[in-house]
């Protein structure tokens, strides 16, 4: 059984489009995260939710909007995609805010 899953795995789109990435975890965890990993492999946190509430919102453009319909899901919607948004986006979850994080397989986004 997949613990943290993301869809889609690959996403190729044109500049200016709007796209969503979905994340689901079946671990019963309370906390979920979105990370962006750029071409230099630098892994940077974007958002963190605890029990559906936003607890961390790093300096991320307003074009990025996370949504957590329930504890098991954290989706990421991106408006007006730009070339610089090309990266791998990882979803992760943890039991609590200071616990081990389990990462999803990643979504490779390429903006043309």
């Amino acid at each position: 059984d997949t613990a943290v899953s993301q869809t889609p795995k690959y996403l190729v789109t044109q500049m200016g489009n709007d796209k969503s990435i979905k994340c689901e975890q079946n671990l019963g965890h309370d906390t979920m995260y979105w990370y962006k990993q750029d071409s230099k492999k630098f892994l940077k946190i974007m958002f963190s939710y605890n029990n559906k509430e936003l607890i961390i919102n790093e300096t991320v453009p307003n074009r990025f909007s996370p949504k957590s319909p329930d504890k098991a899901h954290l989706n990421l919607h991106i408006n007006s995609l730009e070339l610089g948004d090309s990266a791998v986006y990882f979803c992760a979850s943890s039991l609590g805010r200071q616990e081990t994080q389990y990462f999803g397989p990643g979504t490779r986004l390429l903006v043309l």
Binding site: K40, K41, I45, Q98, F103, G106
Partner: protein
Amino acid sequence: QQPVQSPQAVILREGEDAVINCSSSKALYSVHWYRQKHGEAPVFLMILLKGGEQKGHEKISASFNEKKQQSSLYLTASQLSYSGTYFCGTENTYKLSFGAGTTVTVRA
């Protein structure tokens, strides 16, 4: 603020040892270590929760010096499967900030 990892890269022969260092300019509450293989997601190795703590899994171990705001990861008698990029994550006020990573290549 992200921690600083050193070295950036290391190449080893099977059986050799290596040390990866991670330091922060801020007080640390915990240090997490992850390994990421090419094209895959980061995978948890270990977490150190307090100063002086040392942990190990098989021949990979880590230490945490809270006062110096540093942690080190020790790869002992490296195996081919140890190849990958190692990230330290330092936790401060519930936020995990990752270092730039150390790429480890183990050759036969």
